[in-house]
């Protein structure tokens, strides 16, 4: 950027923390995964979280109550009824929240941004995050990976969550996982249950590898 107008707010490779977005449909387990990552990584990394609740500050409040992270490290933004707009088309409110956190905690290692629950086409802008995780769950039906959409096909990591529920909802895990690989080519897929492994060890390992 030119010398006369200050640092470029999108240019987060200069002393600002890497950002990982967590997106996916309503109720798939985005907040639960965020909490799991805070538990798994909060000791070794300086973390902060931005939530994009659709209605309230419910997700931020859940994370604060869960005690997985200092409440001052959690910011909630309003999305004006359009959660996908706030993470993709107009990322201003999220950038403001990230900047507030970076100002409060200058040595952050990672900022996690949870999107509001949205549809299969909702992905994060590259202006907002460096990497993104898309979370779907088995209860949405084993058709979801093969339906595709930018979330499933292009996210840096696809998480198929709640595998513990597969027998109860009649989801065929083999189909889900093989469809996911077929849709995504080389991009990774992790199937997990946060009931069985509450600290999301495989996802935490992937996150560490991105830093």
């Amino acid at each position: 950027m030119g010398a006369n107008h200050g640092p470029d707010p999108h240019d987060h490779h200069h002393g600002t923390a890497p950002r990982i977005g967590i997106g996916g449909p309503v109720g798939s387990g985005k907040t639960a995964l965020t909490a799991a990552l805070c538990r798994a990584l909060g000791e070794q990394l300086s973390l902060a979280v931005v939530t994009n609740d659709i209605y309230t500050t419910e997700d931020a409040d859940f994370l604060r109550r869960a005690g997985v992270l200092d409440p001052a490290r959690i910011e909630a933004v309003q999305t004006g009824c359009c959660p996908h707009t706030a993470i993709r088309d107009d990322i201003t409110a999220n950038l403001d929240a990230v900047e507030r956190l970076e100002h409060k905690f200058p040595a952050l290692d990672l900022v996690i941004i949870e999107s509001g629950g949205d549809n299969l086409t909702a992905v994060f802008s590259r202006g907002l995050v460096d990497k993104q995780i898309f979370v779907v769950d088995v209860a949405g039906g084993d058709k979801v990976p093969r339906k595709g959409g930018p979330g499933v096909t292009t996210a840096d990591l696809l998480v198929i969550n709640k595998v513990d529920l597969a027998p109860l909802v009649g989801a065929d895990m083999d189909v889900m996982i093989s469809d996911a690989h077929r849709m995504r080519g080389e991009l990774p897929v992790i199937a997990q249950s946060l009931v069985e492994t509450p600290d999301a060890p495989e996802v935490a390992k992937w996150v560490l590898a991105q830093l």
Partner: protein
């Protein structure tokens, strides 16, 4: 002219989509429920906050002292929530503008300026700046009404198209107004104190 069109476009990535200009609070209190009540809300907003903001956009475009204008607009905005909403939108617009239209005058603005100042500096022409600002004062709440109340988008668009936006912009070019809008101030203050469901930043 193109710059004004870009700033007024709802696709402009300046953070405007999370602000309802008091409409969310008005809808929650059932003060706005349908097209006639929306029309009256927008009319009132245009002739108070809209005219005031447009006057400052025009003054900034004329090249008046930005620091002084910023303070003057603070003095004319009694509600802290309204001041913060204007500065949040100014900050968002400035972030986008620095990339698209960098200039020394833009760089001289404070980090979180009032939005009308950014509009004035970026657009440059006083009438076009006032028009952009006056239009944005009503287009945001109108779009929020479509999203919150499920109003017919064609009906809402027709209401916006019939508002005296150009007349307000012309008036705004003549002098710096000092209008109050106590109802909007109260709605803005009630909105930031609202517990529970709140979809918009203002």
């Amino acid at each position: 002219m193109l710059t004004a069109l870009i700033l007024a476009d709802s696709r402009f990535p300046g953070g405007g989509h999370v602000h309802s200009g008091g409409l969310e609070e008005a809808a929650a209190r059932r003060l706005v429920t349908d097209e006639p009540s929306l029309e009256s809300f927008l009319h009132g907003r245009l002739l108070t906050t809209g005219l005031l903001a447009a006057g400052f956009a025009a003054a900034a475009a004329r090249g008046e002292d930005l620091e002084l204008l910023d303070l003057e607009l603070d003095a004319r905005t009694p509600s802290p929530a309204q001041r913060e909403a204007s500065r949040a939108q100014g900050r968002g617009m400035l972030r986008a503008a620095r990339r698209a239209w960098p200039s020394a005058r833009l760089a001289s603005l404070p980090a979180s300026p009032h939005q009308p100042l950014v509009i004035g500096v970026v657009v440059g022409d006083p009438y076009e700046a006032a028009l952009t600002c006056a239009y944005l004062a009503v287009s945001g709440p109108a779009s929020a009404a479509v999203r919150l109340l499920g109003l017919d988008p064609f009906g809402v668009n027709a209401i916006v198209a019939a508002l005296p936006v150009e007349e307000v912009a012309s008036r705004a070019c003549k002098e710096l107004p000092a209008l109050g809008s106590p109802a909007l101030d109260l709605l803005a203050e009630a909105h930031v104190r609202r517990e529970g469901v709140r979809l918009f930043g203002s």
